[in-house]
Symmetry: C2
Subunit: 206 residues, 2 copies
DNA sequence: CCCTGTGAATATTTTCACAGCT
DNA sequence: AGCTGTGAAAATATTCACAGGG
């Protein structure tokens, strides 16, 4: 239950609903949500039906209730501690990305291998060496790692993360990581995103 | 033919094959590719079968041939011009991300709205104002836009991009974009990636 | 009458399993 | 013997379509 494609859509619905809520709207129909995303209303209803009965027949869904329910299912009513591995250009962009904090994700530990960076502070978080990983994440209650290191370093660092007890990794390095079964990796691969697009262009005519 | 999930996997196969090629390997089997990705060999064969008959029964695939074929299908045997919209932290990380150039993607135009940034140069590319968009991309033969602006600015900029003739957008802004039918948007939504992970953690026990 | 919730139908994707080539 | 390519089966995911509530 709650398949991957469904979760992928629920997070988007949640985002849309929060925007409507900020704009002062109270109620929404499955059709309206569907239209924003160019999907079918049946799919939206099916997806939302996993939250338990929440809609009002003939009227639609109460936005505030839906958000509350979605936040619960998506785990957004807690604070999540993050560790960032790699304080380069991409790492910095992630660290200062405003969208994380807003949804309860907080960088508590930053790791880099460059001695010139170690000891520097980013908004009060001191950049540490990988040796300090386990101690830091235990102390700061961190359970999700963001990996923004060069491809060549990624597998080694991943093993350090696994040793330190991390079970969830968001990987930006352009390599497939080898991890134990109980560790979950999500891939954000920027070059591959562009390749999907170029494939699109090339095969558009067909 | 060539469904979205298939393309999503083909780009990954291509990456793996290029690594093996650099390491000097000549031949590969579907099973070996599958193992790296924790998938089934049948799926790899099915995916690769869309390239036309390329495997050798009893032996496997010649890595160089596969790469050549994949590059062709994925549109990687050409140079692609990119325009970056938004020269903030994320924009800079994207601009200097080494993985793009390597696969033939080149930033040729950079746009920002901040007068303090306009006129500055990044590796020889001058940051311009949005008014210069159409002229710049026409001159520089750009067909893919990377959108790295704040949520509030994204829809407006998108319309400028569409007016300028862009048909492919890789959007990093955390909003759903409204575009004409013939314009394709791919979403990279960093906060939503983390929400998928937190949902994972919360529902892991179930 | 409008919109939800959901069985049933359809479409898509993945896996099985094996014939056939080397 | 080992591995590909692919029909056929199975599993997933999406859409249809309508009963039923307000």
């Amino acid at each position: 239950m709650l398949s991957k494609p469904t979760v992928e859509r629920l997070v988007v619905y949640n985002r849309i609903l929060k925007k409507l809520d900020r704009e002062g709207q109270k109620w929404i129909t499955s059709k309206k949500i569907a239209d924003v995303l160019s999907r079918t209303s049946a799919q939206v209803r099916r997806d939302l039906s996993f939250l338990g009965k929440k809609g009002k027949t003939g009227v639609g869904y109460k936005i505030k209730d839906l958000i509350k329910e979605l936040d619960k299912v998506l785990g957004l009513n807690t604070e999540w501690g993050l560790v960032l591995i790699g304080a380069g250009n991409l790492g910095r962009a992630l660290f200062y990305y405003p969208g994380f904090r807003r949804e309860g994700f907080e960088f508590r530990v930053v790791i880099d291998s460059d001695p010139k960076k170690i000891g520097k502070k980013w908004s009060g978080v001191t950049i540490k060496s990988i040796e300090k990983l386990k101690k830091s994440i235990d102390k700061k209650d961190v359970c999700i790692a963001l990996l923004a290191v060069p491809a060549g370093a990624a597998q080694k660092v991943t093993e350090d993360l696994v040793d330190a007890g991390i079970k969830e990794i968001l990987n930006f390095a352009p390599v497939t990581l080898n991890v134990p079964e109980d560790v979950n990796v999500r891939y954000v691969d920027l070059a591959l995103e562009l390749e999907n697009i170029s494939c699109n262009i090339v095969n558009k005519s067909k």
